[in-house]
């Protein structure tokens, strides 16, 4: 038995033959980054390896002198004694799975991923492997996503209903990935301008630069102080909820776009008027299907309901599965 190709250390998931870390949470020499979300792409490493499409997003997040090497999808290259390659994960723009091969043994670290159609990023690619490191954010059987095009229709209807009632529709969602995906899906229904919280503006710009088609947008802060937002759709990160920034939108109706909105109690506890079930993570059927598709004999599960996924894979699917302790899972709002 070959020793584990990727193992947890206090700095992050480490690959000894390649001498690199995947999405490390403490500063390291060589960091292979699956995607640009904050809990995966941290500050302070010397060299970053990431997909080309991730680069502009990482450049915004990291310091100027960070050395970011863009990598092609599906093109193996050597790092130390290991071969590694990037493969689309379908999570957000540029998100990648990392395939590591050493002495005929193949491991895939999926990062975050989803299987659903998403006009803002390349679709998930099945990468056969011996050991698959999967996320488990939504590993409960109630998490099952409807087609996002349909949910975008609900969002559009809500927006219209708010407009008729003279309200501002304020939709909270994750600033990187979710916001752009919604703006892209809404194109099927309207060409009206959507307004953005300042934190989202550069990220939406980056997606436009990457050629992603989205609704026209304007920054809330670029509008005159007394601008009337009645009838408008405003996108904001969840942290803006309840802040004084919200005052300008009165009267408003609030919505939250997240996989967690599948459960009423999650929405009610947060006091949102509407919940829209949109997630950039794999739902329960997709997690199981992906494990089967990879053909992996061994599965390691990170962030979320690893306990449930691990037990199910072992007992029902007959796959050798274990939890893998990491520092990921900062996307509590996703």
């Amino acid at each position: 038995m070959v020793a584990d190709l990727i193992r947890p250390t206090e700095r992050g998931l480490y690959c000894p033959p390649g001498d690199f870390y995947i999405d490390p949470w403490r500063p390291v020499e060589r960091a292979v980054i699956t995607h640009a979300h904050g809990d995966h792409a941290r500050w302070g490493h010397r060299i970053y390896y990431a997909s080309h499409a991730s680069r502009p997003l990482l450049e915004r997040r990291l310091s100027r002198d960070a050395l970011i090497l863009g990598c092609d999808f599906d093109k193996p290259f050597r790092l130390g004694d290991a071969w590694i390659s990037f493969h689309p994960a379908g999570h957000i723009l540029g998100s990648s799975q990392v395939r590591v091969e050493y002495r005929g043994c193949v491991w895939v670290a999926s990062g975050d991923y989803k299987r659903d159609v998403d006009p803002t990023c390349e679709p998930f690619q099945v990468v056969p492997c011996d050991t698959f490191i999967t996320e488990a954010t939504f590993a409960l059987p109630i998490y099952r996503w409807e087609p996002v095009a349909r949910v975008a229709g609900e969002i559009h209807q809500w927006w219209r209903a708010c407009a008729r009632a003279g309200q501002t529709a304020v939709l909270f969602c994750y600033a990187l990935g979710k916001a752009q995906r919604i703006l892209a899906e809404l194109l099927a229904y309207t060409r009206d301008t959507a307004y953005l919280h300042g934190a989202m503006v550069p990220l939406v710009d980056a997606y436009r630069d990457a050629g992603v088609a989205m609704l026209p947008t304007a920054s809330v802060s670029a509008m005159p102080r007394n601008h009337d937002f009645a009838g408008a759709l405003v996108l904001a990160p969840p942290s803006a909820a309840g802040s004084s920034w919200m005052r300008r939108f009165r009267p408003e109706s609030t919505g939250f776009a997240s996989g967690w909105m599948r459960i009423r109690g999650n929405r009610r506890r947060r006091g949102y008027d509407r919940g829209f079930v949109v997630s950039d993570h794999a739902d329960w059927p997709a997690l199981l299907q992906t494990v089967r598709d990879t053909g992996a004999r061994r599965v390691l599960a990170t962030h979320g309901r690893t306990d449930v996924l691990v037990r199910y894979l072992n007992e029902v699917e007959g796959v050798d599965a274990q939890p893998l302790v990491t520092d990921y899972g900062g996307e509590a709002d996703d």
Binding site: I142, R144, G271, R274, R305, R311
Partner: protein
């Protein structure tokens, strides 16, 4: 079911009361009376008796989905609502079906209620058939009705407001007509909205006027002489009705207490007809109230024996008069009502007595009197404004309860686990929750403050009302309300409720309260220093 589900969603989807009232108003305008009558029934917190054991619902869900039982329980623990968990889990094996146009009353009367008499097999086929035929939101509402846990987070006050908009009637009139028994029939719904006074149901009580807790110093209320002070009695709030030669006793939880307090009914038999008194049912001996746990021996007991009546004697202590000579007196000033009360029952004796005003002449004297409340067997002092009418519900301003510390909350039992040592075979450690919207959030753990007989009884109840087991801990049907006393309250990030309670303990088992009457998280937070 489609229209009712849409109403449920509309109520669920808006946090604004105006939106909730508008949604109900639209429903009551459109729905046929037979459906609206049932909607009133559910929206005012009435529930169908448990029709299907939840164990059966779980088993059928496992059968339909093929998932292992542990996975269902993990999911339920995460969702926290069984009806919702099952509705979501069943989303998968079924194709997205058509909307269901069968009216609510047909669902309740012809489908759901007959389940009770059915053999398990037939019940299973019926429920599985409905699950397969309904879209998820309607399956969810059906499950809510089946589990008897229908709560939608609207208060009766809002239901009344919506009905007032539909009918053009005063809210007070509607609140009154909704009191007591509600027959979910089209005739009852039409009578409810009828502009003309109907031949009233003579057992119908008036809506209770509820006091608000006094947070500030009473001097803020102005002149002491504008206020009538009474002890705040520690019993069961009730109305005693004498109409048409009959006597009816209602608790604040709107339970008809017929047959439970024969000595009060006997004393009331001498009263003139067309009379309604507001007061407190108390355990009482000579001139002194007995502790609440003495009264508790009487609450659940129909037709108490002579022995128990001797051991736990009860009285009705009247402090207000709402109807005399068959006329509604609620708009008359408090002093006039009190005078009438004295005319009717004098100082009272035996099982029917009259509460006296406290004479402490200024706020300082009253405050020191309040310090003796506990020795007097009371909870503190009630302050009632002279000249005030008898209002509806918790209207602030005219009635204040000036309670003694420690503070108490009424909370619902959520979990139970066995104690240690001598009591390791009994469930004696409990977790309690209060309402946050329509969910119960845990606020306190308390070890039993109950006596042995109550512990035994509660233990049996827990065993037969277990929803699920997590090792030694059981979650129980959220039905039992307890008053918890505590020493202090502090904000807490560690607790889901956002508050930490210091030294919580059970002060009593409130079998007179329905779970919907337990306190809300906002009530608890209002007590934060």
């Amino acid at each position: 079911m489609q229209r009712f589900t849409a109403l449920y969603q509309a109520l669920d989807e808006t946090t604004a009361t105006s939106g909730k009232v508008a949604a109900m108003e639209a429903y009551f305008r459109e729905a046929p009376a037979a459906d609206a009558a049932w909607a009133v029934y559910f929206l005012t917190g009435r529930r169908l008796r448990r029709l299907v054991p939840t164990a059966e619902l779980r088993a059928w869900t496992l059968e339909a989905t093929g998932m292992p039982a542990w996975l269902l329980e993990e999911t339920y623990a995460s969702v926290g609502d069984l009806a919702e968990t099952l509705a979501l889990l069943l989303d998968q094996p079924f194709a997205p079906p058509e909307q269901d146009a069968t009216p609510l009353h047909v669902w309740v009367e012809e489908r759901i209620q007959p389940l009770r008499g059915m053999a398990t097999e037939a019940r299973r086929d019926a429920v599985l058939g409905w699950w397969a035929a309904l879209p998820t939101p309607q399956r969810f509402v059906l499950n809510k009705l089946l589990t008897g846990a229908f709560r939608v987070g609207v208060s009766r006050r809002l239901v009344v407001r919506a009905l007032a908009r539909v009918s053009g009637l005063e809210t007070a009139t509607l609140a009154h007509r909704l009191m007591g028994q509600w027959q979910p029939t089209p005739a009852a719904f039409e009578a409810l909205l009828d502009p003309e006074e109907q031949g009233e149901d003579r057992s119908r009580p008036y809506p209770f006027f509820l006091a608000s807790p006094l947070e500030a110093d009473p001097t803020a209320l102005g002149d002491r002489s504008d206020w009538i002070a009474e002890w705040k009695w520690d019993g069961i709030r009730g109305q005693l009705l004498r109409r048409g030669g009959e006597c009816f006793i209602w608790s604040r939880g709107e339970d008809m207490m017929a047959g439970r307090f024969p000595e009060i009914e006997a004393a009331a038999a001498d009263l003139p007809d067309g009379l309604v008194l507001d007061g407190e049912i108390l355990a009482w001996e000579d001139d002194t109230p007995l502790p609440f746990n003495v009264l508790q021996q009487r609450i659940g007991r129909l037709r108490p024996s002579a022995k128990i009546q001797r051991e736990a004697p009860v009285i009705f202590l009247a402090y207000d008069l709402l109807e005399a000579g068959g006329a509604d007196r609620r708009q008359e000033p408090l002093e006039a009502r009190r005078e009438l009360l004295r005319d009717v029952i004098g100082d009272g004796a035996g099982a029917l007595r009259r509460a006296q005003a406290l004479d402490a002449g200024d706020w300082v004297a009253l405050a020191s009197l309040r310090q003796t409340a506990r020795e007097e067997g009371t909870e503190g002092i009630m302050l009632k404004r002279r000249g005030s009418p008898y209002r509806v519900g918790r209207t602030r301003g005219d009635w204040w309860k000036w309670k003694l510390a420690p503070r108490t909350v009424d909370a619902v039992m959520l979990y139970a686990q066995p104690g240690h040592g001598r009591r390791s075979s009994l469930f004696t450690d409990y977790t309690f929750g209060v309402w946050d919207g329509d969910t119960l959030v845990p606020v306190a753990k308390a070890y039993s403050g109950l006596d042995d007989a109550e512990i035994q009884r509660l233990d049996r109840w827990i065993r037969s009302h277990t929803i699920e087991r997590f090792g030694p801990v059981r979650s129980v049907a959220p039905q039992q309300v307890f008053e918890l006393a505590f020493e202090g309250l502090a904000p807490s990030r560690r607790h889901k409720s956002g508050v930490a309670m210091r030294f919580p303990r059970i002060s009593r088992w409130r079998e007179d309260l329905a779970p919907g009457e337990a306190d809300t998280l906002d009530d608890v937070k209002a007590m934060l220093p």
